[in-house]
């Protein structure tokens, strides 16, 4: 089979991207008669080229796009010449589609950057260049299109090329090939332009057919993330995965990371046989010479040069979601085949992708790119993205909605996990709670402002205290006067507010106390995070379910009246959401149940355990 070149085309809305791809398909004879017929019909209906065939319509697949005349998603196109096969990612140019462009760039070896000769380098062109550079695309074709509209003027072309070379000097491209062309007429796409002989370089198709984009991954040390453990019977145990770098052969000494178990490769199993050696990119199955504990997410790596692990990273991350990325909120990270919990500990800055400058930020919104620090729940094996895309690229997943909310690249580890140890203490939680003759717990009240949380929590503490229990009540309002007085009411600050309280409650439970927390805590994700800090039978979520109208009627603190008058922003229930618990441990009806009854119910749940 021929080798395949994957490339991405980018450019502004009217630079002629889709026309160029349509032209490449047309010139490489990839358009069939029936597709041409359909194209003629479509050109009549939607075309922008008068009586001419509108080649862009070949590419703009979805109906919505044909109607709007813009590309709204990534489309993959395939064509082949006698020398090579090609996969083209066609991505939209608008700013709101940065995520689609990053998607296309993530698997591309080369980028074709389109520039309209009449307009020169636009902010869009620079933004696209930065995105493809960040995603590690190393080769660029600067396709200066619509040269026919400037009468193939050499000076115009050269000015744009010079401008781009200056701009791109620190973007790390290995090669930049500029080509003057007209996608509409096909000049310098597949055939040379007659009348512009001043250009002596290759046509687009010539260049794409011949450029060498190979990387020297095979010379690097062996790494294979374990994807699947194949264990059909007690006789056979194989570790399946795709070689991320280096090569492996039978007899090689390997180490499993994290973990550190060592063994030798017994065989490389492939379809109906074995092979002597496996190289980067091959999907294989390894068997080892002795039984070691290996599971999905670990990386089998060369024993004399094992892969590093860490649980703290500095990364570049792109927000892919309508919901902003917030420090402190728990997410899942998927890096090669490992998937663990993760939180963003700090946003160092976000990137102004148009200007290439840094901006201060507390959160990252859709299409924002930021440099942030991450803390994973377990150490994971990794390599910086610049060294290995396969071992340094990751996605972030929302735990509740399962949405893919971010994509990122590891820049470096902040510290090696092997150097950190938990201080092991002799007097522990069990010892402390024994002395207090009680079982420590965290009782977490959630509900709207004015729902009756604090009243019930207060009654509950009184009762426990009267029975000789050691308790502490953490109340939202009180904590905001001290520990959290630097926090406001934006989503990001609310997340941090809950994180600090949850961590504080955890320390108190560790001290052997029964901790009662009374916070609005409007987001499900944070309440789940709080739960995750405790052991299974230590945490009780109590939902005080009082309807908004009733809370507003009570309005004990006069806050609803202020919110109604617009004097308070981000007020839960008004312009800030409250996500109701779906399965609380105790559910209290704030309309019917009296505070006394409610406190009794919670106490019962606590004892019933």
């Amino acid at each position: 089979m021929l080798d395949t070149l994957r490339f991405i085309t980018c450019g502004s809305v009217d630079d002629g991207k889709s026309t160029l791809i349509g032209r490449l398909l047309y010139e490489s004879k990839q358009i069939f008669d029936d597709q041409l017929n359909e194209l003629e019909r479509a050109s009549d209906k939607f075309g922008t080229q008068g009586k001419e065939l509108d080649l862009a319509l070949l590419v703009d697949g979805l109906q919505a796009e044909r109607e709007q005349g813009i590309t709204i998603d990534v489309a993959y196109r395939f064509f082949a010449t006698e020398k090579r096969k090609f996969i083209v990612a066609d991505t939209p140019g608008h700013e709101q589609y940065t995520r689609n462009m990053a998607t296309g760039a993530s698997t591309a070896d080369l980028a074709v950057l389109l520039v309209d000769a009449r307009k020169g380098l636009l902010i869009q062109t620079k933004r696209h260049s930065r995105i493809v550079s960040m995603l590690g695309v190393r080769h660029v074709v600067l396709a200066i299109n619509k040269m026919d509209m400037v009468a193939w003027n050499q000076a115009t072309y050269e000015a744009i090329v010079a401008g781009f070379q200056t701009f791109a000097a620190d973007l790390g491209f290995v090669s930049i090939q500029a080509i003057p062309l007209s996608a509409l007429s096909g000049d310098n796409v597949a055939h040379r332009c007659i009348g512009a002989e001043w250009y002596a370089g290759p046509t687009v198709l010539d260049y794409l057919e011949s450029i060498d984009v190979s990387k020297a991954d095979e010379a690097k040390p062996f790494r294979m993330p374990v994807q699947y453990v194949n264990r059909p019977n007690s006789e056979f145990r194989g570790y399946c995965g795709t070689v991320a770098s280096g090569s492996v052969k039978a007899g090689d000494a390997i180490r499993v990371v994290p973990g550190g178990a060592e063994a030798k490769v017994k065989s490389i199993v492939v379809w109906q046989g074995e092979q002597a050696i496996a190289n980067t990119g091959e999907a294989i199955t390894l068997t080892l010479d002795r039984e070691v504990d290996v599971s999905r997410g670990q990386v089998i790596s060369s024993a004399d040069n094992p892969i590093e692990i860490s649980d703290q990273f500095e990364v570049s991350v792109l927000c892919l979601s309508e919901h902003q990325l917030i420090p402190g909120r728990p997410y899942l990270i998927k890096l090669h085949t490992s998937q663990v919990g993760v939180t963003i500990t700090d946003i160092k800055h976000k990137l102004d992708i148009n200007q290439g400058t840094h901006l201060a930020a507390n959160t990252l919104a859709l299409n924002d790119i930021g440099e942030v620090t991450l803390y994973t729940s377990h150490p994971i094996a990794f390599e910086p993205y610049k060294q290995s895309k396969a071992l340094g690229a990751f996605i972030l997943i929302d735990r509740m909605t399962n949405e893919t909310v971010g994509a990122g690249m590891i820049n470096f580890a902040l510290r090696r996990a092997s150097n950190i140890h938990w201080q092991s203490l002799d007097v522990n939680k069990a010892a402390r709670s024994k002395l207090k003759t009680q079982k420590p717990a965290c009782i977490w009240f959630t509900g709207l402002s004015g729902s009756g949380k604090s009243t019930i929590a207060n009654l509950l503490e009184k009762r426990l205290h009267a029975e000789g229990k050691h308790t502490y009540l953490l109340d939202g309002d009180n904590v905001r006067h001290g520990l959290n007085r630097d926090l406001g009411f934006t989503e990001a600050d609310r997340v941090e507010n809950i994180r600090r309280v949850a961590e504080t409650a955890k320390l108190m439970v560790d001290a052997g106390l029964i901790v009662i927390v009374s916070f609005i805590s409007p987001y499900r994700a944070e309440r789940e995070f709080a739960r995750s800090l405790f052991e299974q039978d230590e945490f009780f979520e109590v939902f005080v379910d009082t309807p908004l109208e009733e809370c507003e009627k009570r309005d004990t603190k006069g806050l609803y009246a202020k919110a109604r008058r617009g004097e308070i922003k981000n007020f839960t229930g008004f312009d800030s959401p409250y996500e109701k618990p779906t399965t609380p441990d105790v559910w209290l009806d704030g309309l019917i149940t009296s505070p006394d009854e409610a406190a009794a119910q919670v106490k019962l749940a606590l004892q019933g355990d």
């Binding site: 069939f32 993959y76 998607t103 994807q227 699947y228 056979f236 795709t242 085949t337 990751f394 997943i397």
Partner: protein, 304 residues
């Protein structure tokens, strides 16, 4: 384990990527199934799955949605393949629609496809409770396919929302779903028709004999050759089947799949013919022409 020659040809990137996709899907799913449609793409997909899990058989069953209007040779081939690869074959037919006598000849291709394919597929998936379904679709087949993800997320009721697809970067697939949601996985996303044929040749993968030219009874309707595969084919007055040297470029239900005149009866000849073809392979598929954007609409309703 059978040992063949050491150091076979290096895996192509296309092949290893597909194997990686299949393993990733199985490693993260709880109840996967492979939709097996008996055609050349399904044959390649099944072969890749067998490679991915060798020496074990693939750890999931095959599912065939039988419209009862498939070519007879396809059904014979299906049963033989299932037996040979040691996998369970589950066959589902929309019995209600069958009782109603839904036929492509009487009810038209659109209504027939809706009942015997789309509805039947949803029934089969619901009955099996599968959370992940492999399909053999390729992005080069049709425009709306060109935008579909490798791991294509379906909301409850199997609906595809093209504007709400999950971003898919690198080879990192988000496989997490909530109850009622499913994922369709397309390991052949980046294969072209030529890739499929070349791979069938180099791997010696068995395919249904209908792909090879042979004298077959056909009639001409709407400019296309249809094969009279059984006595249910309603011949118009004066219409008599003629014997013609034909083959099929794609396979589906015989009343909806046009034959092409051809003498190609070896893989080499088929590949030559494919590379020189001046019409796309789906031209022989009558349902794609039910109206502009028809495939996109069918997919939104749950069609593969």
């Amino acid at each position: 384990m059978k040992i063949s020659t050491l150091a076979t040809a290096k895996q192509s990137a296309l092949e290893s990527h597909s194997i990686e996709i299949i393993r990733e899907a199985v490693a993260t799913a709880s109840n996967p199934v492979m939709l097996y449609s008996i055609g050349k793409d399904s044959s390649v997909m099944l072969h890749l799955a067998r490679k991915a899990f060798w020496p074990a058989p693939p750890p999931f069953p095959l599912l065939h949605v039988d419209t009862t209007w498939k070519f007879r040779e396809m059904i014979a081939f299906r049963d033989q393949v299932a037996q040979e690869c040691g996998m369970e074959l589950r066959v589902h037919t929309n019995e209600v629609a069958k009782q109603e006598g839904i036929s492509p000849f009487i009810h038209g291709s659109e209504r027939y496809t809706d009942r015997m394919k789309t509805e039947a597929l949803k029934q089969a998936l619901d009955a099996g409770g599968y959370d992940l379904i492999f399909g053999g679709a390729r992005r080069d087949e049709e425009k709306s396919r060109a935008k579909e993800r490798v791991f294509s997320f379906r909301a409850e009721g199997h609906r595809w929302a093209p504007k709400a697809q999950r971003p898919e970067l690198w080879n990192l697939y988000n496989t997490r779903i909530n109850a009622g949601e499913t994922i369709r996985v397309f390991p052949l996303s980046n294969w072209t028709e030529a890739d499929i044929w070349q791979y069938i040749q180099s791997e010696k993968i068995p395919i249904v004999p209908l792909y090879f030219a042979k004298e077959r009874p056909v009639v001409k309707r709407g400019g296309q050759w249809l094969m009279v595969d059984d006595e249910r084919f309603p011949l118009e007055p004066g219409e008599t089947p003629e014997m013609l040297q034909v083959r099929f470029r794609t396979l589906g239900c015989y009343p909806l799949t046009a034959a092409m005149e051809s003498n190609a009866n070896t893989l080499e000849q088929i590949i030559d013919e494919t590379l020189a073809a001046s019409s796309s392979e789906r031209q022989g598929r009558l349902i794609d022409h039910d109206g502009a954007g028809s495939m996109e609409r069918k997919k939104q309703e749950g069609y593969f």
